[in-house]
């Protein structure tokens, strides 16, 4: 059998076999367990330390800027962030700039954390309007971010449930960026740029972000220019944060399958290239 023949056989593999092997690679680690030492990167540690050093009981603006399509990657970040903040008894003002699903995801995650996690871990429910609030969504994110610099109430006359902001203790004395201590962005899209260039640069509020791995490489540039205090990149970043706050969750669990599928993909790239070179660099 000459090398061209081998190359031909290799290129002839049906794509469904590849799909199946990927599927198996995601399932097996759940069943057998996988080694998962997690190395905490500097950008995650910086974010953790920054939040850790904020005074207990401060007010934080937490965003849910993501679509349902990336839930698996970013929801663990939101949960880890909420845990960290609530352990420090911080007040969370939540909002979203994503029309499709943003407000509903905020509702679900916040309510779940407030009623389930808070009771288990902190011993008491977190109360809507006192410990947290969901402002929901307003159209045209640029206008929203700019307008909030002057007054939250102009843009958000009410919360997501149409109750005026003045009727909640949490927002009584909060009406612009300078009234909150930190901006915690969890996002799966380019909105992070707007937060950095509007909220951070023009109104001076410090900001940290958890983003999907697709977005992450870009934001390293903002770390070094100190436009951002820390960064969580993808599920891996979430796992690192879970390790930092000492509460292993979904992201840590997912690192097992993640390891194995990465190996699979690398194997496929190498195999494909072997076929390519054996076959005389022709497709």
């Amino acid at each position: 059998m000459n090398r061209y023949r081998i190359a031909e056989i290799l290129t002839g593999i049906d794509r469904r076999i590849i799909y199946l092997s990927i599927l198996l690679a995601t399932i097996i680690p759940f069943l057998v367990g996988f080694p998962q030492p997690i190395y905490v990167s500097k950008e995650s540690r910086d974010l953790y330390n920054w939040v850790e050093n904020i005074r207990d009981g401060s007010t934080i603006l937490l965003t849910f800027d993501y679509y349902p399509s990336t839930l698996a990657e970013v929801e663990p970040m939101s949960r880890a962030a909420i845990k960290h903040c609530w352990r420090k008894d911080m007040k969370l003002i939540c909002m979203t700039t994503v029309p499709l699903g943003g407000p509903s995801i905020t509702e679900r995650v916040m309510n779940d954390m407030a009623t389930n996690w808070a009771v288990e871990e902190l011993g008491a429910k977190k109360i809507y309007g006192v410990d947290y609030i969901n402002l929901g969504y307003k159209p045209d994110y640029k206008a929203v971010l700019m307008g909030m610099g002057t007054s939250f109430r102009d843009i958000y006359p009410t919360d997501f449930r149409s109750v005026p902001l003045d009727s909640f203790p949490i927002t009584k004395n909060v009406d612009k960026y300078s009234d909150v201590n930190f901006l915690y962005i969890i996002s799966d899209n380019g909105i992070v740029d707007e937060w950095v260039t509007i909220a951070n640069r023009q109104f001076g509020i410090p900001l940290g972000a958890g983003v999907t791995a697709v977005m992450a490489p870009k934001f390293y540039s903002y770390l070094q220019s100190q436009q951002m205090v820390g960064l969580l990149g993808g599920m891996r970043g979430a796992a690192e944060y879970e390790k930092l706050i000492g509460s292993e969750g979904m992201a840590t669990l997912f690192m097992g399958p993640q390891s194995l599928v990465h190996l699979m993909i690398i194997f496929f790239i190498l195999l494909g290239n072997t076929a390519y070179f054996l076959g005389g660099r022709k497709v």
Partner: protein
């Protein structure tokens, strides 16, 4: 999704739709098309509910009635003007609202880019090239950053032919760009796989075991 809170019916609805979408991997089929159309319909419906509550009720009705902010009728009219684009004869009227929004966006954008990005990013590049990380030996990180930024800018410089020194610099820029895109590539693969893992976990370990009564 928090499977612990959901009933079996809820999980089954979700699980069925997930499998319908994934069936596209085999080939285009009626289940996929059904899911696709339900999805498109629900998405449009989601917008209707969302805009009604957050804009019509919260941004218009409540402020106008409770606080007497009558001037808010104008943006509402400008918004309605947008719909003239469905009528050929009057479609030009929609430009009025559109231009107002575009002007505002452009103004914000302009300041964002120059003040929020160009200045601070330039400033952050002015660093001591000899300081910084000596990790991986040889070249300090600061030098890498300076060289990378400048050669990348040169690569995207279009006013001169890439020949001679300029060509060599641009070539270096190209290598830098490929390293960065390699990182991007790795990260993107990582992201897509994470999403798959999330879905597989729901179907194979939360929903199916409950459906067949193992759990």
């Amino acid at each position: 999704m928090n499977p612990a809170d959901s009933s079996l019916i809820e999980m089954s609805v979700a699980g069925f739709l997930i499998l319908s979408i994934f069936s596209f991997l085999y080939k285009d089929n009626p289940f996929y098309r059904l899911a696709e159309h339900i999805f498109a319909g629900l998405t449009a419906g989601y917008y209707v509910g969302l805009i009604y509550q957050t804009v019509i009720v919260q941004q218009l009705t409540i402020p106008i009635y409770r606080e007497g902010k009558l001037e808010l009728i104008f943006p509402a009219l400008l918004g309605i003007l947008m719909f003239t684009r469905f009528f050929d004869r009057f479609s030009y009227l929609s430009r009025i609202s559109l231009a107002f929004v575009m002007g505002n966006t452009a103004g914000i954008f302009l300041i964002q880019q120059l003040h929020g990005l160009v200045l601070p990013q330039t400033q952050a590049t002015i660093i001591n090239p000899l300081a910084g990380s000596w990790l991986l030996g040889a070249v300090p990180g600061g030098m890498i950053i300076i060289a990378g930024v400048i050669t990348t800018l040169i690569y995207f410089y279009f006013s001169k032919e890439h020949k001679g020194v300029l060509g060599k610099t641009a070539r270096v820029g190209m290598v830098f760009i490929m390293i960065s895109f390699g990182a991007h590539f790795g990260y993107t693969v990582m992201a897509r796989l994470s999403l798959l893992i999330g879905q597989v976990k729901f179907v194979a370990f939360d929903w199916l075991p409950r459906l067949i009564g193992v759990n």
